[in-house]
Symmetry: C2
Subunit: 347 residues, 2 copies
């Protein structure tokens, strides 16, 4: 299916922990219209989130002056969580009440355009590969540093989803035996050392210990460690606060360690670092590259991957979700739609 419709507009909707962000995306990855809502609280029933998604979709269709299925040829949903290989079912979502939720089937009853569901990091990686920092690369690893770590693998123009759809959970690879407890139940997960949460935890522990190193940071939050946030630490580092710079560098070193591990396993040509923490730019990436170069196995005997900042910012998830859905329609995967329980619709 390569008609003009398939090359037209797609809707991408990114469901995060705090907001549902949607956009109408053209074939060049441009976002033409936007809509957003707060994410319903995790205690609400799955149907409430579905209502929110449908609202965002309808607002976007109205904004683009058309009817669903006419102007919009595909709808992509990016969700933080485990999405099954069928791209229809959300197996588990930490911020929502979804457990083995047949999301595509539920939405397909209310939206008259083919729907595909994907993990949010997969969607962001796809966007960066198609339109952003990894254009032209054959083997890419995406690492998104937010409150935790999201990850995705892309090889030869395909998102690598794994046997059950759950590949790319790099944040839960153990880097410190017996280390910090993680929300996943384990200890020492990578995201406990290289993430926004880790950054804030370390800064707070300096404050709580009454360290003189934290005096300036403490002033910035009006004396209350509870007011501390990742963006605030990044802002302080940009303003020259040495402690904030060191805290970010520590996160960078752990980022480099994990990336060296991923390079040993996958040998990609490029690592793209996205998510909120990546706004720190070189304050994060230079320490990461430095550690990577010192820890990569076989260094000196092999080509080394690049480590670069993501380019599409917050909208990578919705752009990628829209474009993945458009690609699925083009490849004819929507013909498998009635069989929402089967794996046949996977790309």
């Amino acid at each position: 299916m390569t008609g003009p419709g398939a090359e037209g507009l797609a809707v991408g909707i990114d469901i995060g922990g705090t907001k549902v962000a949607g956009g109408v995306v053209d074939a060049a990855g441009r976002v033409l219209h936007r809509a957003r809502r707060h994410t319903p609280h995790r205690s609400t029933k799955p149907g409430v989130v579905e209502n929110t998604i449908v609202e965002v979709f309808e607002e976007l269709v109205a904004a683009s002056g058309g009817e669903a299925g006419g102007v919009v040829t595909a709808v992509g949903i990016g969700a933080a969580g485990f999405v099954a290989a069928d791209r229809a079912t959300v197996v588990f979502a930490p911020h929502l009440s979804w457990r083995h939720e047949p999301l595509r089937a539920a939405l397909q009853r209310r939206i008259d355009a083919p729907i595909f569901v994907d993990n949010d990091a997969n969607a962001a990686a796809w966007a960066e590969w198609r339109f952003g920092a990894a254009r032209g690369e054959s083997h890419m690893v995406m690492v998104t540093l937010g409150t935790g770590i999201g990850g995705a693998l892309l090889m030869n123009g395909q998102v690598t989803r794994g046997r059950f759809g759950i590949a790319g959970e790099f944040g839960h690879m153990q880097v410190v035996p017996g280390g910090h407890r993680c929300e996943c139940g384990n200890r020492g997960c990578w995201e406990q050392y290289a993430s926004g949460n880790a950054l804030v935890r370390e800064a707070r522990s300096l404050m709580v210990a009454g360290s003189p190193m934290a005096t300036d940071l403490l002033e910035r939050v009006g004396g209350d460690p509870a007011n501390l946030s990742g963006p605030l630490i990044t802002e302080a580092a940009r303003a020259g606060d040495q402690t904030a710079i060191e805290l970010l560098a520590e996160i960078g070193v752990w980022l480099g360690t994990g990336i060296a591990n991923l390079a040993a396993a996958f040998d990609p040509g490029i690592f793209v670092i996205g998510g909120g923490v990546s706004a720190a730019g070189e304050l994060l990436l230079e320490p990461a590259r430095d550690r990577f170069r010192k820890q990569l196995t076989g260094r000196g005997y092999r080509p080394e991957a690049e480590i670069v900042e993501a380019r599409l910012g917050n909208e990578a998830g919705l752009i990628g979700a829209a474009d993945l859905a458009r690609q699925a329609v083009r490849s004819g995967a929507e013909e498998a739609l009635p069989d929402v329980d089967g794996p046949g619709a996977g790309a």
Copy 2:
């Protein structure tokens, strides 16, 4: 190219640290003839290893009663080391003097059948997927426990080689920050905790410390820790030696930890455990499965991969190398042979 010749016999040659083992392999993965030599010492020039390979090849061709290029349609070389994505160049081999060695070009001048070079673990994984423990699986991870750890990834019937050909070096993922020094120059590499070398190191340290736990093992080696080997510890464990059983279980626990990390990243359907240490069977695998089940992120919310023993033993490498070469010829990759420097011949 799907003529009868392409479905005929292929030669596989596995170049290990101590031996060069070759075989004539039919399309069903059966080894019809065998030949082997000692691996030339790493101080000898690359040409000496090439001579050994050519000798093995010629012995095999003679044994199969034909001429090269007639009976034998493809030659696969499996080598311990980094093999470039072009499947022609050995970038680095720890046991040999090869550094950016254009192995295929050198051999192709002396062998009149298309040659493909691959990493030995890639070859073993391919053999297990085609003819062994992973038949019918779409996403497989192979972990070979020998003196170190070899690894390979297979997705949808393709060996995943990475951007530069060096994917699958799982043994050099760091599992313990500041841990045991590894030959690769780093500290805390997985293969320092889950391998034959780790098994022997731990047993020796008990002996050297004069631990009463090591009394029986010490007797088995005539009182000299230098005589200790992995197979000997496995033999003792099979005979009921509690210390040997515990030592193997410790290796198994580290195996399970690393496998949980790989499952988070790749989400395969099956892990196949090969290499010399895997001869310990359930003494190794049961502790590994137990740790894996306790450490897999998202456990309880996701399907879990199987962990099984490899089936093809020592010959997996040569069987896989032969079959990978046969497949490359079938897919027409040998047409790219004159361009030995290009990446075109990669599968």
